[in-house]
């Protein structure tokens, strides 16, 4: 009995000793080894934040797509299946064989593949071939605002545009978590659900996708019509500096940006609106006018002799496109006389003119949130030759970026305040400084308005039917970069704002190397007109003359008229005073036009044609003219 007890006691002692050995002496090491088997370290990768336009329309999003990789050691000798694998991934067999035959632990086979390719690979059931999901940037509108957005690399790193500049903000922060893993390598969250990684920030732009689309479309059409090498266009809100649209031609699709060594890649990807300085030509006369009027060296009515088209300055001769004799300063701007501008600049003096050029922001970066912005070229006044004052007066010998030019015009449009153009919406004070007084800005606006609105003005083709336009054309020679002299190539541009009396947008259009005509008034002004017309409608800007004109002669397609409608319309057209007129049976547009013209404050519900109105037709008029209209889709239900 004792012997048996002794054996059990001995065995128990052995067990205890073994337990002490496993748990105390070798415990930590064994725990570490066990953890390697059942603990998993998982990296939680955030998605890049979306980029949206001013109305929340998504311009750039991230989605997960599969990427396929191989572990060559696990893959082993499955050579017979290589052809099927290559076919599933649409890769050359040689490339797949080379990757699978390596000795590395991990080799990408193909990254960011379409889902059907990943499914085809999974169906093959190959050992050592796996898929993993990776975030991929997707631009749902393809080329829309491509130069603003930029693009990302295969590892989702920003390479161009805002994707590059705002990369640290958009990218988010990844972090690792630990979790248990079972025998089938399935993760078990025994310690609770891990906190998600800090997602990349959502970036809201000042861009309006609709305006951007119109600007790109019209610019592309303008460049094609002018048979030009390229072009750029900008739409700015002059009161805030918000960039509503920024377009370049040629352009690219950020979903497939191509590679650096592709032919013409740099030309397509370059954001010429901020990176390409150009000689602004006669558009610069607006800046000269602002400076000269602010310094009171000239009035719009002052007369200048324009030397019949040829003017000698030292050993240089200045020409006008057309011969002019005596012109008022307003006409100098209207007809864009270089000689007149030279004489104004001579009155102003180089130092003062240079000071204003700097104040308007030339020769310095605007600070927009895009990489690669250039400051342009504005030489210090100490280094100006005698001719430089003259050439600077009509925009030669100085280089600016389209964005600088648009910002300078925005200062004239908003009453003299230089605003900083920006793309990312946030709370800030966009005003940089006052450059001219509100009175000077108003005078220059009037001069620029004449250049468009009056007969003979160089910007006639920018004129709109419903809104007054202020702007200036520009035609400048391009400098040959190899010889350093002017070439035969030209840049035609137009910068202006609309409506001239209450500016809502500044629009710059630049056509590079036009093939048909080099004049900005011919190639750029029509593009300005097309963009401005659509943008004003999109912004809901009402024409000041519209209600009266419409009241007298309703424009647009006539509404469908049933006999009942015709009766109603006749009633509405009849003199209504002093009782309430009838709007029954009219379309929404017609009813609103007439009601607004008669001074009614209107409330509308429903769609279609007016079926009820309050006060009813014929009711005595009261001083407070409030009208409620109920519309129904079927005009037959309208009851007079």
């Amino acid at each position: 009995m004792l012997a048996v007890a002794g054996v059990f006691a001995g065995l128990l002692a052995l067990i205890v000793l073994r337990a002490v050995d496993l748990t105390v002496l070798r415990g930590p090491e064994l725990a570490r080894l066990a953890a390697l088997q059942h603990r998993a370290r998982i990296e939680l990768t955030p998605h890049r934040g979306p980029i949206v336009d001013r109305h929340g329309e998504a311009l750039a999003l991230s989605v997960d797509v599969p990427s396929v990789y191989v572990r060559p050691r696990e893959f082993g000798r499955q050579d017979a299946r290589l052809a099927a694998l290559a076919a599933a991934l649409h890769l050359p067999l040689r490339a797949v064989r080379g990757k699978a035959a390596g000795t590395q632990g991990f080799v990408w086979l193909k990254r960011q593949v379409p889902p059907h390719e990943a499914e085809a690979v999974a169906r093959l059931g190959l050992k050592g071939v796996y898929t993993v999901r990776e975030g991929r940037r997707f631009y749902p509108h393809n080329g829309l605002a491509a130069h603003v957005l930029g693009f990302v690399g295969v590892d989702s790193q920003g390479l161009e545009g805002l994707e590059r500049r705002l990369d640290p903000v958009i990218r988010g922060q990844s972090h690792d978590i630990e979790a248990d893993r079972d025998g089938r390598r399935q993760v078990i969250f025994t310690a609770g659900v891990p906190a998600p990684p800090a997602q990349g920030s959502r970036v809201e732009l000042t861009i309006d996708a609709g305006i951007q689309d119109v600007t790109e479309r019209e610019l592309a059409a303008g460049v094609a019509a002018a048979k030009a090498a390229g072009g750029a266009a900008l739409v700015l809100d002059p009161s805030t500096g918000e960039v509503l649209a920024l377009a370049n031609v040629p352009t690219f699709d950020p979903n497939q940006p191509g590679r650096r060594h592709d032919r013409g890649w740099r030309d397509r990807v370059r954001n010429r609106a901020i990176t390409d300085p150009y000689e602004p030509g006669s558009t610069f006369k607006a800046i000269l006018a602002a400076a000269a009027i602010e310094e009171r060296v000239v009035k719009p009515t002052d007369m200048f002799f324009c030397e019949n088209g040829r003017y000698q300055v030292g050993r240089w001769r200045i020409h006008d496109a057309h011969r002019h004799g005596w012109l008022s300063f307003a006409q100098v701007i209207q007809y864009s006389s270089n000689i007149g501008a030279t004489k104004v600049a001579e009155r102003l003096g180089a130092e003062r003119y240079y000071r204003y050029l700097r104040a308007f922001g030339f020769g310095a970066r605007t600070g927009i949130e895009l990489p690669g912005e250039t400051p342009g070229i504005l030489r210090p006044v100490e280094r100006w030759a005698r001719i430089d004052l003259a050439t600077h007066s009509f925009g030669q010998g100085v280089s600016v970026t389209p964005l600088q030019m648009a910002a300078a015009f925005a200062a004239i449009a908003n009453g003299g305040l230089l605003v900083r153009p920006y793309l990312v919406r946030r709370v800030l004070t966009p005003v940089v400084r006052r450059v001219v007084s509100a009175r000077t800005a108003a005078t220059v606006t009037e001069l620029l308005r004449r250049a468009v609105e009056e007969k003979g003005g160089t910007g006639e083709k920018a004129r709109l039917d419903d809104f007054p336009v202020a702007g200036k054309t520009g035609t400048a020679q391009k400098v040959n970069l190899h010889t350093g002299t002017y070439s035969s190539k030209r840049i035609g541009s137009f910068v202006g704002f609309v409506p001239a009396d209450r500016p809502r947008v500044v629009i710059l259009v630049l056509i590079d190397e036009p093939g048909v005509s080099s004049y900005g008034g011919v190639v750029a002004a029509p593009v300005f007109r097309a963009i401005a017309g659509t943008v004003l409608k999109r912004l809901g800007v009402e024409s000041p003359a519209l209600p009266l004109r419409m009241a007298s002669a309703p424009a647009g397609p006539a509404p469908r008229k049933t006999p009942a409608l015709a009766r109603s319309a006749r009633t509405a057209a009849a003199p209504a005073e002093p009782s309430t007129p009838s709007f029954l049976g009219l379309s929404r547009r017609e009813a609103l036009t007439r009601a607004y013209a008669a001074g009614w404050d209107v409330q509308v519900s429903g769609v279609g044609y007016v079926s009820e109105q309050s006060p009813p037709p014929g009711a005595p008029l009261v001083p407070e003219r409030r009208l409620a209209l109920r519309l129904v889709p079927d005009p037959g239900t309208a009851s007079p």
């Binding site: 998605h47 979306p50 329309e57 998504a58 311009l59 999003l61 991230s62 989605v63 997960d64 999901r133 997707f138 749902p140 509108h141 393809n142 829309l144 979790a179 248990d180 399935q186 993760v187 078990i188 969250f189 025994t190 609770g192 659900v193 996708a209 609709g210 951007q212 689309d213 479309r217 039917d465 419903d466 017309g533 659509t534 409608k537 809901g540 800007v541 009402e542 519209l546 004109r549 419409m550 309703p554 424009a555 647009g556 397609p557 929404r588 547009r589 609103l592 036009t593 607004y596 404050d601 209107v602 509308v604």
Partner: protein
């Protein structure tokens, strides 16, 4: 004196001895053993119960862990689906595409002069 005599008269007598007579030690031992065994069994049962509870809890934790894992997988799947739908929606809302559709399919055009009435 009479008082002390009275006190002596009230001395309590022990009816049962504090220790059992030495004549029955085996019985005493049996009683103690029985008490110990009962306590040991009880303690053992509690320990076994605690162990079972621990195992049950551990199983529950693992089970909930699996459920969490499955829920997270579903969350990721739904988020992925949501992102894909967002992309699809944004693609369908592309202003260029809508403009083309309006022009080609519906025969629409940009509103002309006087065709836009701004609601006040």
């Amino acid at each position: 004196m009479s008082r002390s005599a009275g006190a002596a008269a009230r001395v309590l007598t022990v009816r049962r001895p504090l220790a059992r007579p030495a004549a029955r030690p085996a019985r005493l031992l049996r009683a103690m053993r029985g008490w110990l065994v009962r306590r040991a069994l009880g303690l053992g049962a509690v320990l076994v119960g605690l162990c079972l509870l621990q195992v049950w809890l551990r199983l529950q934790v693992t089970h909930v862990g699996y459920e969490l894992s499955a829920a997270r997988d579903m969350q990721l799947r739904l988020e992925h689906e949501h992102r894909e739908l967002e992309v699809e929606l944004a693609t369908l809302r592309d202003p260029g595409r809508l403009g083309d559709l309006a022009r080609r399919r519906l025969g629409m055009q940009e509103p002309g002069k006087g065709q836009v009435v701004i609601l006040r």
